[in-house]
Symmetry: C2
Subunit: 195 residues, 2 copies
């Protein structure tokens, strides 16, 4: 790679997004400059504008892609009919999906305030769609008589906060395997909502 000019369009786009994801997650959207992103990719700052109209759109695209992947992965996962099995499936899915992409998760939760109004509304809508799936499981379990949940909306938020919190400490090389973690959290969730 001795040359310093030329076309690399086939791979530069994804590399811009990867670099932005990593840098936004580590330092925060507002603290990262387009020049830093360009430096990671190995191009000059001006070249980034072949791949995004502006920095705001770059952030939004990363968050939108993450939420789309979350919803499609969830749709593709097995969904048992019974509420208890469905809740276990949701719990394990949530932990596994989020543990696999900590940077995107971090950005999706931390950078909401840096979205403009229209972009914020889109991401919030997708998040609500996801949370409603858990709420529906809880309501189903109450109807089945297997769950005792006084307020399904609050319990939904509580469970998701607890599960997403895994990302603040989980490391692949740590004391516990992801399977261990899934089981520990499923025990807590199961007991917390049990009839």
């Amino acid at each position: 790679m001795a040359r310093t000019q030329g076309s690399h369009s086939d791979i530069t786009g994804p590399r811009v997004r990867d670099a932005a994801l990593r840098l936004f997650a580590r330092h925060g959207y507002a603290a990262v400059s387009m020049r830093q992103i360009a430096g990671e990719v190995g191009v000059q700052a001006g070249a980034l504008y072949n791949y995004t109209p502006d920095k705001q759109t770059l952030l939004f695209d990363l968050m939108k892609e993450h939420m789309d992947q979350l919803l499609s992965a969830r749709a593709a996962a097995p969904a048992p009919g019974g509420a208890l099995a469905a809740l276990e499936a949701f719990t394990r899915f949530h932990i596994r999906f989020h543990a696999a992409r900590p940077e995107a998760v971090f950005i999706a939760y931390m950078e909401l305030r840096n979205l403009n109004d229209d972009n914020f509304a889109v991401i919030e809508g997708l998040r609500h769609t996801y949370e409603t799936q858990l709420e529906d499981i809880l309501r189903q379990g109450v109807a089945e008589g297997v769950f005792d949940v006084a307020d399904p909306k609050i319990t939904t938020l509580a469970v998701i906060a607890m599960l997403t919190g895994v990302n603040t400490w989980f490391r692949e090389a740590g004391r516990l395997s992801l399977e261990d973690v899934e089981t520990l959290y499923w025990d807590m969730v199961r007991k917390a909502v049990a009839a």
Copy 2:
């Protein structure tokens, strides 16, 4: 207040901290300028440097004060001898304390990455001190035979994540009173760790 110059030192210091707290919480440390803070206070940017050596120290002081208040309020709160009562007291204390100062809580969780290494170590140490208090209660309950907790460290993190999550949605004017919220979360915590 027609005059545009003069001494106001008796109140300006706290007003600088208040303005920084509010602006950092809303827009993020990196996105807020010293000029914005000065504008909120009603002085010019240069005057802020009578109250803080730099922006980084201003952030650190806000976070340090928050953690100090958390630990001293906790130390001043009733601490029942039995593990079950102690866990209920911790749960209710955590929700109440955090609900009362959402901006400081938000900053303490979101702006850790904007602290320099030394400042980060201080805040992390204080946070660990607080978390250890919950972990000790859980271990005591296991010893007493009233809790069934497979991994006290993980359960500590899970409970704190769940409780702190209240701040993402709780509003004074909302459907639920703080007392309602405390009771709902205490029910979940109690069941999740029950023997």
